[in-house]
Amino acid sequence: MNTEHLKNNSMSLAGEPPKALNTGQKLALVLGMVGLAILAISLFNVSFPNKSLWLSISLLAILVGIFWFSFAVYGDKTKGIKNDGVWFKSISGRGLWAWLLGIGLTIFYVVLYFYPQYLGLAKEGENSGVIALFDPLSKLLGGVPASQWFVYGTLYTLAILGFGIKFIWKYRHNRYEILRTISVMFFQTSFAFIIPELMLRLNSENFSLPYYDLKNIWPLNYYNFERYRVDSFISSGDIGLAFLIFGVLSIFVITPILTYKYGKRWYCSWVCGCGGLAETAGDPFRHLSDKSVFAWRVERWVVHSVVVFVTLMTTAVIYSYLGNDTSKYWLTKNTFLIGVATILTLVFAWVMIYKRKELQKDAKYGAIGYFVIIMVLIGLHYLSRNGHVFLFRAETLRSSYAFLIGAIFSGVIGVGFYPIFGNRVWCRFGCPMAAILGFQQRLFSRFRITTNGGQCISCGNCSTYCEMGIDVRAYAQKGENIVRSSCVGCGICAAVCPRGVLKLENGPLEGRINPTEVLLGNDVDLMELAKRK
């Protein structure tokens, strides 16, 4: 006898409590579906008489549908943790609805990245289909017709806003969660959506800034230093140059300072758009992440390989368009390579000298990664000819990265598989930005999750609801602080803990990592205990 029979594998939405939908939820769902249906109908080139009106109806129906749904779920409940029935519901318990949603999202991403013409994107002339439906909004904001990315950006922002409100409602007893969610909603709407569109309006024939979401930092924004962007930054005078400098500073100066002070959460769960979607629309799937030690091992290999890949790719790309003549421009191929090698060596030397103990055997893998990069840099210098990097052209590296990591990993797998593998698959296994921030978080940051003495009952809520698949309980039950590179500081472990064991906080580096010999509660003579060892 077990709970298997409760898993709803049928198509019926009207199951047994607590997984059934009430009338309000059903009506709200219908309203949201109507909004989506309008978008779906437009795909088939049904020409709507008044595009602005129909687009507004559609987007409003989706938004109001989500608000209404949230109200119907949480409105009449007391404040507190709302995880009843999470594993019983088909949509959040890997049931049939989860698979359908996963497949639907995956198809959407494949079309978006590789077949935008099916969405109605026209290379020349008028857009059709769903993209045409978004033309009025795009013209209003950026002054140009919509692209598939505009459609995607609008829906993405809508999802973060709508499900952000739902999340706030769900965690209305928790001010950390509320503020964090308002923050991601703000950064998505302004920095990712409206500001870049308004920037487009500034462009003219001799002034052309590239599309730039300022909070999208290299290496997450892997294309930021590609030739066409750098060219247009430089050609746009002081403003363009300022943006370029900001792009460099954000990864080399701003990011390390903020990560030192607050941990990587300042970015991953307060600012980042990928994190924003994961924390709002992805929240119902956070418990699906794999907590096994095996998954952790895979994570470390994969995510750090992506860092190596993106570093090499970016270096090769920049190298490929730099010149050799110092009289033309101060930054040449050689100075650039030496610069990259110097930065990497400094970081590596600092870690090996000061932080070797904390890394233990991982240091070996770090050394391997470093060694690979340096060898390739040397290879670049001696073996590269005619734009080739070893056997590959820089362009080949770039396009494979864009395809494999930028499209397949972050989009298709990262979001498409939310309902199956959880909402942070990309952030955990793929995001090079998260890996770099995490590396710093582990070694040089004031952030940690403090464990409250001996109050842990090993219940497992923290681990289950950790979207990054960290086995939080493994630390908490030993009375150890949690200092893990992958932790994005979402704070949900502390929220769902029924015993008040966990607290995210910033504090001195000393004593941050604290393996304890005896849990608080047993009074033992520690000197005596130490002598025996």
């Binding site: 006898m1 077990n2 709970t3 409760l6 047994e16 409590p17 607590p18 997984k19 007391t78 507190g80 943790i81 995880n83 009843d84 029935g85 999470v86 594993w87 019983f88 519901k89 007893h173 928790n174 001010r175 950390y176 096994s292 030690v293 403090t450 409250n452 003495g453 001996g454 109050q455 009952i457 090993s458 219940c459 497992g460 809520n461 681990s463 289950t464 309980r473 493994a474 039950q477 704070g491 929220a495 769902v496 029924p498 015993r499 008040g500 607290k503 995210l504 906080e505 504090g507 001195p508 000393e510 004593g511 005896v518 849990l519 608080l520 509660g521 047993n522 009074d523 033992v524 025996r532």
Partner: protein
């Protein structure tokens, strides 16, 4: 190489096994009939509520036991032969041991109520109980009402579980206010209100008289001492637990309520130890009960006995008392001793603060004469264990605790804090002029 047999794979037995493995290469066998692997008993409720699947309750992955060379045996110990150092098993015949650790936990109390063994009447302690509840009360159509008997921690858990499936629940509580054998009045009162806020039919000062059966021998209703009959499909019995030691009756091991042990957790028979819920201290330690059926004490005894079994005698020496629980949405933590009115010591006085609207309150116990801090209960506010533990050990005065109250806060960042309100209430009650100081890391986490 010794063979150490541990009966029971709960938190006490498993902690003992882990710590023994850290210190020695003895052969360790963990015997349990309940489940193959260790799980967190206190989290069973979350499986029924759909927060977690049973697998999530296991703190260690299944490969852990083999990797650490701890043998698991799923079997039931029927008797112990102390002369021949053997335990008898239901299916595996028998097992010889060099050292034996008894960690068999508790069983649910039943007080001889008529009808207590009917179908549809159950407690909530084991994995089997959880499975049974899934059969007895899968949803609100099959279980149209449940009656929970007992106003303690398991009672309130059962209520919360059933409410998560929208099953109407009546709660019969013997006391005049919820859990007032442990909680002071103000706190108990707040929980009463919170229970009712969750649409639970709370009947205080009400005793179960009889459980009535239908024609199939299933529960159909209960009667109370208020001469009421309440129709129901499930009766949850939660009037506490007692040590699970019946199989030791004829073993020669000294038994009281539980297995009698000294401070080293040794029984009267050499090489036999008892830990956790089933152990009874021959002399109670301080204000503690002689049988402590709490997760934390089970774990602490497991840690202590491991040292002793491995040849470094270490007493079970619990420090300041602490515990925690959650009543529906309200978290509760306690440190030191805060007794309810019925048990209050002659020297004990209380300061109580309750938020005017939110479900939050604090009770601080102190010594009437010398003002020493004796204990703190908080509801809806988290405290930092380390800080309060140090206060209690250093026997600070309540005034200093008030001044440094912010050091003890453990609520998530950005939470509204109520120290100034609490201290203001204290000042007006005692005519003091304490200014709560800003929290200070140097005081919170002293080095060296």
């Amino acid at each position: 190489m010794n063979h150490i047999v541990i009966i029971g794979n709960g938190i006490a037995g498993v902690t003992a096994a882990r710590h023994i493995r850290k210190k020695s290469s003895d052969k360790i066998t963990l015997v349990s009939s309940e489940t193959e692997h260790f799980f967190s008993r206190t989290a069973l409720m979350y499986v029924y509520m759909g927060h977690m699947e049973f697998g999530h309750l296991k703190p260690y992955e299944d490969w852990f036991w083999k990797k650490n060379d701890i043998d698991l045996l799923q079997d039931y110990v029927t008797a112990v032969d102390t002369d021949n150092k053997k335990v008898f098993l239901k299916t595996f015949n028998s097992l010889e041991y060099d050292k034996l650790i008894i960690a068999t936990g508790s069983k649910s109390n039943k007080f001889g109520w008529p009808g207590q063994d009917l179908d549809g009447v159950q407690g909530l302690y084991s994995k089997q109980d959880l499975d049974l509840l899934e059969t007895n009360a899968p949803n609100k159509n099959i279980c149209r009402r449940a009656v929970i008997v007992g106003g303690g921690l398991i009672g309130i858990e059962l209520v919360e579980m059933l409410r998560s499936r929208e099953i109407p629940v009546t709660m019969l509580v013997r006391e005049k206010s919820f859990w007032n054998v442990v909680l002071p009045k103000g706190e108990s009162q707040m929980i009463n209100e919170h229970i009712r806020e969750h649409h639970i039919d709370l009947r205080l000062d009400t005793n179960l008289v009889e459980i009535l059966a239908d024609e199939n021998g299933r529960v159909r209703a209960v009667t109370t001492d208020k001469s009421e009959t309440i129709e129901c499909n499930l009766v949850g019995l939660a009037p506490g637990v007692s040590p699970n030691i019946e199989f030791l009756k004829d073993s020669g091991i000294d038994l009281g309520k539980g297995v009698l042990v000294n401070r080293y957790l040794e029984t009267n028979i050499p090489d036999i130890y008892a830990i956790g819920d089933c152990a009874e201290q021959r002399e109670a330690i301080g204000n503690r009960k002689s049988v402590e059926a709490v997760w934390y004490t089970g774990r602490m005894m497991g840690e202590a006995v491991a040292h002793t079994v491995c040849g470094h005698k270490m007493p079970y020496n619990p420090g300041n008392w602490f515990n925690s629980a959650k009543f529906l949405d309200i978290e509760y933590q306690t440190y030191g001793w805060v007794f309810p009115e019925s048990d209050k010591k002659g020297y004990e006085a209380h300061f109580h603060w309750r938020h005017p609207k939110e479900r939050m309150c604090v009770t601080i116990a102190y010594h009437k004469d010398n003002k020493q801090l004796l204990g703190i209960n908080t509801f809806g506010i988290r405290l930092r264990h380390q800080v309060v533990d140090r206060w209690l050990t250093e026997e600070i005065k309540i005034h200093l605790a008030m001044e440094h109250l912010r050091d003890a806060n453990f609520d998530p960042e950005f939470y509204r804090n109520y120290e100034s309100e609490i201290v203001a209430a204290f000042n007006s009650e005692f005519g003091t002029h304490i200014e709560p100081k800003r929290n200070n890391r140097k005081r919170i986490l002293p080095r060296g």
